[in-house]
């Protein structure tokens, strides 16, 4: 098994608002292996984007604050790096693409200019060389007529093209890890399919490690080797895609899989989990899923569930692990 | 952050440079012409045509233009200027003036009888400003180059008329013939006076320079130029005076004058004036059409306080409409006092024991003294149960309102600052109190009394030949006016002129308000 490229340990992020202060993100352990595709899945508000920001040490402060934890990347704890060093890691070592390509691009510069600037900064290229390289990159992300596209402003491009530009910027410095934070969220399915194919292809070609963040397990199921599930800021299950999606692990995983309708489904009634997602500022104590869990017992409320190994590289955080329907 | 720092440095440097520049004050240059600088609170030149001028222009015009005679009211005598002497027929209808020879206009044309005739005829024809002073003149003849004869339709004192502060200037008619009738109004001037126009900028300044061919000639100590700067802020004007930038400020608040008086660097000259202040009462409106109510109002003014605190004792309470010092003034006439008890009795007699009505008083905006008088009076009227509604408005608006065709629109009380054109009681009594039905001049009381009309016009006809009779008729008219009280005669003003102490030779002439006659002045020492 390859070594972890990225490893989060005991990461806790706290948010302060008027209503109070709460640990919004609480991840015991999460590793992304060299060269793999890792899918991090959770509802909006489950803390998956926050995980990405914490990894880059970009949690907006205030109101957020990383209170403890370590982020190991290539043998260094990113949270302890001086800002200047961290700036070099971002972009050069870890690149990120976000869900809304429009707001990720600066509206007043041409996309070519934006790619060029990052290249100039990271690879110390002069403007001309950087621009040539930028056009090449735009071609790499399957943009037809990259010269023309490079001269356009973000708003003149369609959503799919913008996302490709963002990917080009992310690739521009030869990063080892690409964090794709809901990169296809607001795109149509046909466009989304194109982007996913592009990412898969780039991964094959460059061997880059991808941390894929999505709210729909189906999206990552197709392309990821391993999957982690988040619920209300806690990691509930992590393991190989097939094993996790088989649905034998955490009650939340089961509930989620049962709730998602599928094409060609013959079920008359979807299996319903009662209740509502918890307030991220005031999550329930113990296992955060326990108010909605059918198997909940007093200990679920009392204590944070331990990691239980279900199979090779397959962990579940549940007091009743191994329970089956 | 580098950018910010660079900015801050640049800005600080800029500020420092400005401050440094500010530090070095320029010293006055040597060998510069000696300029007499006047700070005027308004643009003095409303009208450039001496035929039309009826306002604030005379301090400038009198430096450029001259009249045939000049009146010296303190000695009550007329002094020859462009005319050397004159006589009148016993019927008072024919006046003959003999002119000075060798006088030239600024343009180089000679001054002679034809020019006098032409310029007065033109003034009469235009009918603007104070042209009415020539109403009695039937015809002017110029039988010889140095002789002018006035033929009148009824007798008036033409000697006083030709010395009038308004409408009696001798200007060059030839210039107009050559350059068009609008020549003067386009900002040009051509007179016989000691100074000629060099340049002017509307609303900013007028610069006069000496006329080398002036008939009285030039000696060493005359001023070379006169600069009239428009400085609307009295505070600024005072500062300029203190900084030695100006020699004279036309108008200063008395509060400032009180301070300057103590400073030996300034000369505060106080002398009697012919200016006075009336409050004209709308005598055709309820309840002011009752003379008792008007008398009550006359008793309600705190005369002493106004003179002491508003005028800082640079005024005296009026006795009648004709100011003290002018012929025709009679100190023995009735004088109202501040007496609220008496006022209450009169109001009660008229049927308003507790007041119970309100009055609108208009005050020209910018006139601080009038506003103060109004505000002080308001408090007294309140004690009588009369509400006073003070409305400050531009003079023109105040004027329009007073002459509004809709009588109901007109104000109840109009505070008027008045001064004479021709130096005689006629200016006051005819201007403000004779019946003015078809058009109103200054009779803003809308007062009409045939008896007063007869007395006033009779006096004027006698004035040229029988001063004693005229004086008596004026006295009778004033007595009626005081009893009828169409106006409140508040105070007679004094002229207070503030000059830099280095300026010598100043003698105020109340017949020509604010005129300095700079030719007579000279400088001793530094400004």
């Amino acid at each position: 098994m390859p070594a972890p490229l990225l490893e989060l340990k005991g990461l806790q992020v706290e948010f302060t608002t008027f209503e109070g202060r709460g640990v919004t993100l609480d991840i015991d352990r999460l590793e992304v292996l060299e060269g793999e595709s890792f899918g991090l899945v959770g509802e909006s508000g489950s803390g998956k984007s926050l995980t990405a920001l914490a990894t880059l040490n970009l949690v907006p402060n205030p109101p957020g604050r990383i209170i403890r934890g370590e982020v190991w990347f290539q043998g260094r704890d990113l949270l302890r790096l001086p800002p200047r060093e961290m700036g070099r890691v971002r972009g050069a070592q870890i690149a990120a693409i976000f869900q809304d390509p429009m707001s990720s691009l600066n509206p007043v510069f041409t996309v070519g200019e934006q790619v060029t600037r990052v290249l100039m900064h990271h690879q110390r290229l002069d403007r001309k060389t950087a621009y040539r390289r930028a056009v090449e990159l735009l071609e790499t992300v399957r943009l037809s007529d990259p010269e023309t596209v490079g001269r356009k402003y973000p708003h003149e491009l369609s959503g799919g093209m913008r996302q490709r530009v963002v990917i080009a910027i992310a690739l521009s410095c030869g990063a080892r890890l690409l964090i794709a934070d809901e990169a296809t969220r607001n795109l149509d399915v046909t466009i989304q399919a194109g982007i996913i194919d592009l990412l898969t292809e780039l991964k094959c070609r460059t061997g880059i490690t991808v941390l894929y963040i999505a709210n729909n397990p189906a999206v990552v199921a197709e392309i990821c080797d391993r999957i982690g599930l988040l619920y209300a800021g806690q990691l509930v299950e992590v393991g190989p895609s097939a094993a996790v999606l088989a649905g034998g692990g955490h009650p939340y995983t089961r509930a989620l899989l049962a709730a998602i309708p599928r094409v060609g489904d013959t079920r008359e009634v979807l299996e319903v989990t009662e209740g509502f997602p918890p307030d991220p500022i005031r999550p329930p104590p113990g296992c955060r899923f326990h108010p909605r869990c059918r198997r909940a017992s007093p200990e679920c409320q009392a204590a944070t569930p331990p990691a239980v190994t279900l199979g090779p590289d397959h962990r579940v955080y549940c007091h009743h692990a191994g329970w089956s329907a | 952050m580098k950018g910010i720092r660079a900015w801050s440095v640049a800005v600080s440097v800029l500020l420092l440079v400005t401050v440094a520049l500010a530090g070095c004050r320029q010293a006055p240059r040597a060998g510069a012409p000696d300029v007499f600088v006047i700070a005027n609170n308004i643009d003095p030149m409303w009208s450039w045509d001496p035929a039309d001028s009826f306002g604030e222009e005379i301090p400038v015009l009198f430096e450029m233009y001259e009249t045939l005679l000049r009146y010296h009211p303190l000695q009550d005598k007329l002094e020859p200027v462009l005319a050397e002497d004159w006589d009148v027929t016993p019927d008072g209808l024919t006046w003959t003036f003999r002119l000075r020879s060798g006088v030239k206009f600024h343009c180089g044309h000679a001054f002679d009888a034809t020019q006098v005739k032409k310029s007065i005829d033109r003034t009469r024809e235009r009918g603007m400003g104070a042209a009415f002073i020539w109403d009695a003149v039937e015809r002017i003849d110029a039988p010889e180059p140095q002789t002018v004869v006035f033929h009148l339709s009824y007798p008036i004192p033409v000697d006083l008329t030709v010395a009038s502060a308004y409408g009696a200037f001798m200007y060059c008619p030839k210039c107009l013939e050559e350059k068009g009738d609008d020549h003067y109004n386009n900002g040009n001037a051509c007179g016989t006076g000691p100074y000629k126009l060099e340049s002017w900028r509307r609303g900013d300044q007028v610069l006069l320079t000496r006329f080398d061919d002036y008939w009285r000639g030039w000696e060493d100590n005359h001023f070379d130029k006169i600069l009239v700067k428009v400085v609307p802020e009295t505070g600024t004007a005072r500062q300029m005076l203190e900084a030695g930038e100006v020699d004279h400020v036309r108008l200063l608040p008395f509060e400032d004058i009180q301070v300057l008086k103590k400073n030996p660097r300034f000369n505060v000259a106080v002398s009697p004036s012919f200016q006075n202040v009336y409050i004209l009462i709308n005598s055709i409106r309820e309840p002011l059409n009752d003379a008792r109510v008007r008398q009550a109002l006359s008793y309600s003014i705190p005369y002493a306080d106004i003179i002491k605190y508003v005028m800082h004792d640079y005024a005296t309470q009026s006795v009648g409409p004709v100011p003290a010092g002018m012929w025709g003034h009679d100190p023995g006439l009735k004088q109202y006092t501040y007496d609220l008890t008496r006022a209450r009795e009169l109001l009660a007699a008229a049927g308003y024991p507790n007041g119970g009505f309100s009055l609108v008083m208009t005050v020209a905006s910018g006139d601080e003294n009038h506003r103060k008088v109004a505000e002080m009076w308001k408090g007294e009227l309140a004690k009588l149960g009369i509400a006073l509604d003070i409305r400050t408005m531009p003079f023109d608006a105040q004027w329009d309102l007073a002459k509004s065709p809709d009588v109901k629109q007109r104000q109840d009380l109009y505070i008027l600052y008045y001064w004479p054109d021709v130096t005689s009681p006629q200016a006051f009594l005819e201007g403000c109190f004779v019946t003015q039905d078809d058009y109103i001049i200054f009779n803003l009381s809308y007062y009409s009394n045939p008896l007063v009309d007869d007395l006033v016009y009779g006096a004027w006809q006698a004035a040229g030949t029988d001063r004693v009779r005229a004086t008596e008729l004026y006295r009778q008219a004033q007595a009626i006016l005081l009893e009828d009280a169409p106006a409140i005669f508040v105070y007679d003003m004094q002229n207070v002129r503030v000059l830099n102490a280095s300026v010598k030779g100043f003698k105020d002439n109340p017949a020509y308000p604010y005129v300095l006659f700079v030719y007579d002045l000279y400088r001793e020492g530094k400004r």
């Binding site: 909006s44 399915v189 729909n216 309708p261 009634v269 509502f276 | -």
Partner: protein, 329 residues
């Protein structure tokens, strides 16, 4: 055949693009460009397509939120496309809508009771007490507490708000309920709750559903029939199971192949479309899908395919599709 609940005939909806000093229209966005559609009484119809295909515009025309540029719209047999606003009483009472965005679909300044009670206040003359009890009844039906009526929308989660929106739509007991992406903005567990609720309500209340969605899975779960739109046109129409089992239009096939599936082990053959959706201002000539179609022929660029029946009730607008000859729809 009975009168359809709602029916569109050759409906076009163009929006002007204004420019210049005089703000004259210089071009038109052809959001809906000649659509025929009929929803039977009691049916649950799904309208699918990607963003910009005109599906949202179409339902807004059907509900007369927009006045169609051309074509006819009938609601329960009554022409509503061009009649004056005052004559829309039946439509306004019998057709209601649930919107995608659960945050902005409820007036933040009104409490839940007022929100749900508003249709009653507009259309009926109920007393305050009756109104309150109707509101309470519908709240209970939606699985909300009766005390929730006094609370404000921001106090609820997305799923709960969508229930409130449904309650508002159903309080008048309408005959037609239009669901515009009813679950796309809420979490998966709540989505299941809502979908189940909608399904059970339909049976309970005998109401016709017209669901607009880009999520084929949701449509397949909720709808009996399905209409696929592309760039202002209907490209395929049929019973859900027929369309899913046997998609006839290349676009439908691409759409279905792009749906993410939980089948990671077996890599499916995905049809990836090239390029982006063309602008609705200048749609391509001929078949509007031809520039992106993997199966295009030369004919496609010239000839515009009509919507023809391929099998019982299964229509398609494609020149290459096997259709029954001589039977225009």
């Amino acid at each position: 055949m009975t009168t359809p609940m709602v029916e569109a005939q050759a409906v076009k909806m163009y929006f002007p693009i204004r420019a210049g000093v005089l703000q004259r229209p210089v071009a038109w966005v052809r959001a809906v460009d000649g659509v025929d559609l009929a929803v039977r009484k009691g049916q649950s119809m799904g309208l699918v397509g990607e963003s910009g295909c005109g599906k949202s515009t179409l339902v807004r025309v059907l509900l007369r939120l927009y006045r169609p540029t051309a074509g006819r719209v009938r609601f329960m047999g009554q022409e509503i496309g061009h009649c004056p606003d005052g004559k829309l009483g039946v439509l306004r009472k019998e057709a209601q809508m649930v919107f995608q965005d659960p945050y902005w679909s409820l007036n933040p300044r009104m409490n839940v009771g007022e929100i749900i009670g508003e249709p009653l206040a507009v259309h009926t003359r109920l007393s305050r007490r009756e109104l309150a009890s109707r509101v309470e009844g519908v709240l209970t039906m939606m699985g909300l507490a009766s005390g929730d009526g006094r609370r404000f929308p921001h106090e609820f989660s997305g799923g709960q708000r969508q229930r409130i929106a449904i309650a508002r739509a159903l309080v008048l007991r309408p005959r037609l309920l239009v669901l515009d992406e009813p679950t796309s903005a809420i979490d998966a567990l709540s989505q299941a709750q809502i979908l189940n609720l909608l399904n059970s309500l339909r049976q309970e209340l005998d109401v016709t559903y017209l669901t607009v969605s880009h999520d084929l899975a949701v449509v397949s779960y909720l709808c009996e029939a399905i209409t696929v739109m592309y760039l202002g046109k209907v490209v395929e129409h049929g019973l859900t199971r027929d369309v899913f089992r046997n998609p006839l239009h290349p676009y439908t096939r691409a759409l279905m192949s792009a749906i993410p599936q939980f089948t990671s082990a077996v890599k499916r053959e995905r049809i990836v479309l090239s390029g982006a959706v063309p602008s609705a201002v200048t749609p391509p000539p001929g078949c509007r899908f031809h520039p992106r179609c993997p199966e295009r022929t030369d004919r496609c660029a010239q000839e515009e395919p009509g919507l023809l029946e391929a099998a019982g009730g299964h229509h398609v607008a494609c020149l290459s599709a096997p259709v029954q000859p001589g039977d225009p729809h």
